[in-house]
C-alpha cells in the first residue's frame, strides 16, 4: 500500500506543472518576478541586498542556481561586471544573449549620463552605457515589469494571462505610488542632498530631489582629504543639509562630512533587502522617502506651504 501511495505521489508530482525558474542578478528584479509570477515561479537572486551590486562575490554556488534557470534577469548594462564569469560557468545554453531566457531589464529605459565624447578611465570607473542604477525609479519599474512580463509570457505561455494580469496591477500601483510619494516630498521643494555613490539620479528625477554633489569625486574612487574639504565647502555654499550613504559605503566618512557642515547623514538602501525592513520593491521607495522626510525634519528644513 505504501509503495502504491508513493507511486501516486510521484505521479502527481510529475504531472503538476513545473514552476518557471527565474534567477536574477539583483534583488529588485527578483521581487518584481515574484510579484508577477506568484506561485507559478521560483525566484533566486544572486545579490543579497545590502552589498554593492558592482562588487558581488558570485562563485560556483551561484553558477549552480543558473544551471537550470529558465530566465536570467539582469541589467543588460555593465552594472554587474561579475555576470560574464557567472554565465560562462553556468553551462546553461538557454541563457545567452538573443534568447528569450536572457532578460535585459534596461530595455525601453532612457538612460541618464550616457557618455559623450571619449570614454576612458580618466572619469573613474565609469559606466560605458550610462548610469546603470535605473531600478531606483518607479516609472522605470513599470518598464521593467513590462519587460519581465513579456519574457515570462514567452517562455511560459500557459501562464501568460496570469502574469499579464498581475503586471497590470503592479504598473497601476507603481504609477499611483509615484504620485503619492512625490506629493510627500514636494513640500520640501527640491530637497538638496549629497550622496556617496552616483546611484540616486533616477530616484531624484522621479521624486523631485536635487543631488548637489557626490562624496566620490569619480565613480568608484574614494575621495582624497583635499577632495573632502572641497566638497564640504561646496556643501556649505549650497546649504546642503542631508547626506545619503548607501548601505555598502563608508558610513564613517559620510558621517564626518555631515558633521562638518551640520547636516544629517542617513543610510539608504538602493536595492530591495538593502535593509531588513525593505522586503519589496514598493517598500524600497516608501522607506527611502520616509527616511528623507525624517532627515529633513531633523535637519530643520521646513516644508513649504503649497
Amino acid at each position: 500500500m505504501k509503495t502504491l501511495t508513493m507511486l501516486i505521489l510521484l505521479l502527481v508530482a510529475s504531472i503538476a506543472p513545473a514552476q518557471l525558474k527565474i534567477v536574477t542578478t539583483a534583488t529588485d528584479y527578483a521581487d518584481l518576478a515574484r510579484q508577477i509570477g506568484g506561485d507559478k515561479v521560483t525566484v533566486q537572486s544572486i545579490m543579497r541586498g545590502p552589498e554593492n551590486v558592482h562588487n558581488v562575490l558570485a562563485g560556483p554556488t551561484e553558477m549552480v542556481k543558473l544551471n537550470k534557470a529558465d530566465l536570467f534577469v539582469h541589467s543588460g548594462l555593465d552594472t554587474e561586471p561579475w555576470r560574464d564569469n557567472l554565465v560562462r560557468g553556468a553551462r546553461n545554453a538557454k541563457i545567452v544573449e538573443g534568447n528569450p531566457s536572457w532578460v535585459d531589464m534596461s530595455v525601453g529605459i532612457t538612460l541618464r549620463d550616457v557618455a559623450t565624447g571619449a570614454t576612458d578611465r580618466s572619469k573613474g570607473d565609469m559606466h560605458a552605457y550610462g548610469d546603470p542604477h535605473f531600478t531606483m525609479n518607479l516609472p522605470n519599474g513599470m518598464r521593467m515589469v513590462a519587460t519581465l512580463t513579456r519574457a515570462m509570457a514567452e517562455v511560459d505561455p500557459s501562464n501568460a494571462d496570469f502574469y499579464r494580469e498581475n503586471a497590470r496591477k503592479l504598473v497601476t500601483e507603481f504609477a499611483e505610488m509615484n504620485k503619492e510619494l512625490r506629493a510627500k516630498l514636494d513640500p520640501l521643494g527640491g530637497l538638496k542632498i549629497v550622496t556617496f555613490h552616483r546611484a540616486w539620479g533616477y530616484f531624484a528625477d522621479s521624486m523631485g530631489l536635487s543631488i548637489v554633489d557626490t562624496i566620490e569625486p569619480h565613480v568608484g574612487i574614494t575621495p582624497s582629504p583635499g577632495e573632502v574639504v572641497s566638497l564640504i565647502e561646496r556643501m556649505r555654499a549650497q546649504g546642503v543639509k542631508i547626506v545619503v550613504c548607501e548601505t555598502y559605503n563608508d558610513r564613517k566618512l559620510a558621517q564626518s562630512i555631515a558633521d562638518k557642515v551640520g547636516a544629517v547623514m542617513i543610510v539608504l538602501p538602493d536595492h530591495v533587502l538593502g535593509v531588513p525592513e525593505v522586503k519589496s520593491y514598493q517598500q524600497l521607495f516608501r522607506y527611502n522617502v520616509d527616511k528623507l522626510i525624517d532627515a529633513a525634519k531633523a535637519a530643520g528644513i521646513e516644508p513649504r506651504s503649497p
Binding site: R48, G49, P50, E51, N55, L57, A58, G59, P60, T61, M63, V64, N67, K68, P81, W82, D84, N85, R88, R91, V96, E97, G98, D104, V107, G108, R121, D125, Y129, L138, P139, M142, R143, V145, A146, T149, R150, A151, E154, R164, A167, R168, V171, F174, A175, N178, K179, R182, A183, D186, G189, G190, S206, G208, I221, T222, T247, Y248, D250, P306
Partner: protein, 451 residues
Amino acid sequence: MHARTGLLAAVALPWVVSAALAQTAPAADDRMDQFEKRLNELDQKYQSELKNRDEEIARLKGNLNQRSAATTRDAVDQTKQDVLADIDARTAGPFTMRTPASFNPSIGVVSNFSGNISTLNKNPARNRFDIGSVELDLRAPIAPIADGVVILPIAREVESDLFFTDAEDGGGGIDEGIEIEEAYVFLHDFGVNNLTAKLGRFHLRFGRQNILHEHNWPTTDNNFVNKSFLGEEALTDSGLSLSYVIPPDWVGGQYVELVGEVVTGEGGGETTPVLNNDASVDSPAVNLHALWNTNLSDDWNFELGGSFLAGKHDNSGSQDAFLYGLDATLVRTDPTGGFANSMLMFEGIYGNVDTDDGQTQHAKGFYVLGQQQLNRDWYVGIRGDWTQNAVDDSQEVWAISPYVTWYYFEFLRFRMQYQHKDGDVASEDTLYFQCTFTFGAHPPHPYWAMK
C-alpha cells in the same frame, strides 16, 4: 575818504556775511531735507519693488514646482499607459543594441611595475626595480559555440631561483621577450550539457592558483610550492582540456566539477621544474582535477579541490613524474553588505619525480594564505610557505610574507610585501613593491579575489 570807506567796509562785512549765512543755512537745510526725503522715497520704492519681485519669484517658483510635479504626474500617467499597452501587446520586446557591431577582439593591457629591496645582494633577482611584465590580453567570440583567448606577456625580468644559495654566483641577466602564455579556443556549447573544452595552450587546472595570471595573485610573488613543483609563474602546456559540471540535481544541488586534460608534457620548457619533457606526442601528460564548492552558510563559502598530474620529467621519457595536489579555500562575505570580506586558502602538493641520478624524489610542500579586506580599497594578508625542492627532496625552504594592498581603484593597484625567507637556501629579508595598472577591456577577476 578811503579810510572812511575802509572802516565802513570793515563794519559792514561781518553783517553782510552773517546775513548771507543766515540766508544760506535755511536753504541748505531745505535741500538736505529734500534730499533725505527723496532718498527715503527711493528706498521705499526700491524696497517695495524688491518685495514685489520676491513675491513674484516665490509665485513663479511655486508655479514651477506645481508644473514640474504636474509634468511628472503627466509623464508617469503616460508611462503607465504605454507600459499597459506593452503588456497587452503580446509581442516580444525589441532587443537593444547599444554598441556598434564590431568584429574586433576585446583588448586589455596589464602592466606590472615591480621591485624589491633585499638583504641578499648576491641574488641577481633582488634589489631591482623594473617593469616585470606587460600582458596583452585578447579575447572575442569566434563562433556561436566558441570564444578565442590569446594572452601574450612581454617579459622583462630576472628569473628568481627559489633555492638560491650563497654559494652560487650572481650571474643572471634580464630575460626579455614575448611568449605565448595562453592561446586557446574555448568551446562553451558543443551539444553536451555541462561540458566545455579548451583546445590550444593554457594554464593547467592543477590546484587553485596555477590558473591565475601573475597580476591576479593575491601576493607580489608566486607561492613557493607552486614555484617548486609547477613553475616560476604557472604550469602551462598545449593540448585539450575538458571540464564537466555534474548536474547539480544529481549531487544535492552542489557544484562538483571534473576536469581532464591531455597535454604534450612539455610544460613551460626549461622553466618548468617537473614537467619538462619535449613537445612530441609520444609522451603526453595527463592532468585530472576535481573540485567541490558549497555554501556552509549565507556568509561562508568553501571549496575543496584535488589534482593529479602524470607525465615525464625528461626528454627521453624514462623519468616519470607524478604530482598530487590538494587545495581548500574558505571565503567569508561581509554580511552587512560592506567590504570586510575574508579569505583563507591552502594548497599542498606531493610529488614522486624520477631524477637524473636514478632516484625518485618524494618532495612535498604547501602554503597557507589569509587575507582580510578592510574596506573597499585596502586589503591585508599573510602567506606562510614551506616546501621541498620537487627535484631534490633534501632541500627545503620556508618563508613568511605579510602584505598590504591598496586599490586606487580597480585598474590601478599598489602592493607592498615583506618576506623573510630561510631554510636550505640563502637567508634573506626582502621588501617587495608592486604597481599594477590595467587599461582596455579586462575580464572579471575570480570571485575570491574580492574585487
